[in-house]
Point group: C2
Amino acid sequence: MGRQVRESLRRAVGEKAFFDSEADRFLYSYDTSSRKVLPDAVVRAENAEQIAALMAVATRHGIPVTPRGGGSGTTGGSVPVDGGVVLVMSGMNRILSVDMDNLVARAEPGVITGDFHRAVEAKGLFYPPDPASSAFCTLGGNLAECAGGPRAVKYGVTRDYVLGLEAVLPTGELIRTGVQTAKGVVGYDLTRLIVGSEGTLAVITSMNLKLLPLPESVKTLTVVFDEMARAAETVSEIIRRGLIPRTIEYMDQAAIVCAETRMPGELPVDAGAMLIIEVDGRKAEAIAMAEDVALLCQSMGAREVKVAASEDEAARLWAARKAISPALFRYGPHKINEDIVVPRSKIPDVVEKIRELKEKTRLMMVSFGHAGDGNIHFNIMLDKKDASALRRAHWAVEELFRFTLALGGTLSGEHGVGLSKQAYFDMEIGPEEKALMLRLKKAFDPAGILNPHKIF
Amino acid sequence: MGRQVRESLRRAVGEKAFFDSEADRFLYSYDTSSRKVLPDAVVRAENAEQIAALMAVATRHGIPVTPRGGGSGTTGGSVPVDGGVVLVMSGMNRILSVDMDNLVARAEPGVITGDFHRAVEAKGLFYPPDPASSAFCTLGGNLAECAGGPRAVKYGVTRDYVLGLEAVLPTGELIRTGVQTAKGVVGYDLTRLIVGSEGTLAVITSMNLKLLPLPESVKTLTVVFDEMARAAETVSEIIRRGLIPRTIEYMDQAAIVCAETRMPGELPVDAGAMLIIEVDGRKAEAIAMAEDVALLCQSMGAREVKVAASEDEAARLWAARKAISPALFRYGPHKINEDIVVPRSKIPDVVEKIRELKEKTRLMMVSFGHAGDGNIHFNIMLDKKDASALRRAHWAVEELFRFTLALGGTLSGEHGVGLSKQAYFDMEIGPEEKALMLRLKKAFDPAGILNPHKIF
């Protein structure tokens, strides 16, 4: 980046928001994926007008801009692979309004998701999307990736809670999309096109989010099985019976061991699998449904079914569940992690396939995730310096992807494509569909400067 | 349309599917809006490959193609304003699969929505979107317009139930979008961009729809008020208390009179307003919630609160509700109908505004609709040959639109823009947003042949 361009950018965003020291650039060179690339500069966003000015200059000079929330993405979405500017959104973190009469909130993208949960829950309201990184990820990042989380079984994903956006186009125009009402169909659905576009189409500067009344009661069940296959069949059976808990999470044995580090002595580290099932609703309904689910699990051969005795116990259980991913490194210095989705009834097939891949590759594999959605977090823990192990791991991932697609599934339920799944993108998306997506990208970003080289 | 082009089109789709008699052309020249334009030809679609062949020829020769479902749209979406071909989708009406294990159905676009309801309900499943025209509208049309209906309060709109599509681009390529699983985030969200695009971006040839388990129990309440304003306040209060019935419909007095023609002697034609409220869930939950709602309505000053005694009574009530729109013509030979949406707490303001407009214009106005969503169907019944009345009507519509937008609302909750709301489009959508939408249109339809002159 030449000196003149640098000065244009600095002038556009203001002295106070522009950083280019070695330390600042290093700080924003990586996310939760394994990639790291130094940007040329960092802009700490303060408001939409400033971002508009930045984008106009960036488009004029062809400078890549990579927006960044909490940096907790797992597929490299916020890594500035082409250098240029990292646009740090975390300073725009105000909850602008929580409208209890209309069940709508307005927020800036830098709000931490967990903070937002607490803020609306304090008013008796509920925002269901709850990615495992909720303690440090941001709403803006959640929208960019269309984050999901455990409660999607009943409540859907981030996309289902976004009513409208304010966003800046790569060319610098500030746009408003969608509505702040329960319905709205005027013009094309720009809102949901931007949601899930992995920060490649526009920079979200504020959002209108739909809220629900906070459920009166939640019951949290842990269900322990000797065998993973039996747990997988139970998940399918719950859905088949028309019971829709808000959450059906599962962990295999290796994942239970990781979770147990947060609840020493309290989790069955010898079990083949564990489910965490949450039901909610009016009090009587939650109790009745918990009973139905418990009976069904017992009839399916569960070794133990337990209802959490208190909110505190349930909270500790969730803290343990959310700690699995970082705790995996006990099994190896590097992680390859995928989040395939299959039709829910096919989970037993995937479990069997994983068992087979484990046997064939002799690699450490851990799986857990949102079984109620058919969304499986599949992890291979290895030392990437071991070339043979790495080769076997890549073979296993490709095998699993092929199997997933053959079952009618998809390669990602919530992590997105970013950098790390690009090699597999064409397995799922055909050439015509890809060409169309690239034309859409061009319609938003003619100079190709917003988060370049992601997805495609 | 020249003879050579006509023969190319005929060859592309096959002799049996191509019609150009005066009668056939007349039959597909209009929909439920007041516009009528003769197409040059009619194609009765049989399969996706045929549509692909048609679109390729149409793009090559610049022939407009207007897809058509049940022709029940109210904004002119299926009127072939530029002539060319009307593509009749109603023959592609197979329900391809209903997967009870995974709560997903695959269907062709010509399936009548009501037939689809019955088919999935027979298997204990539930497809919530339920436009008033469900007896004759099609799933394809519902997707094109992002139809809503009364159950959106709890269950959302059509968009929320579309997992993936097969569609033909205006240039003739067959594409697959989205997934058949509960989650999926690989690539841009083409699915929801096509949904609600009013048939201007692609021709949907099949769809994967999300289903729910059929609720165990539904309770239907009718709540009668002396004054419309009080009914409107009650709707806001229900939402404010965090009660989310699946349906909160309202009718003003003139609408009750229309509905009563289907239930003679059973509806309170002297009342200021009536609400139809439905709650659902497990049996005990539905009963408890119906009681909560009933008590709240009484405390808000309802003159009468009644729970429908049987499923049959509830069904008759809904038949009466769905008959309002066609029955309106008792009040005048022509109808101007709008479907604005406001934040739910603003319904009392809109009710007051409508009262004021009625007084100022001395026109017959009827309002009813999905109060629980803030979605109000506002109708002016008049004789359009009366130039003064027409002028006053247009003034009133513009006034109401301005008021709606000032309240944070939108001009259409479910009917779309089509032809009839184009004059008002720029009131809601800014120039940058419109320019972006037009670039997206171009990315799908470079020759501008698919349903031209709609929306914009």
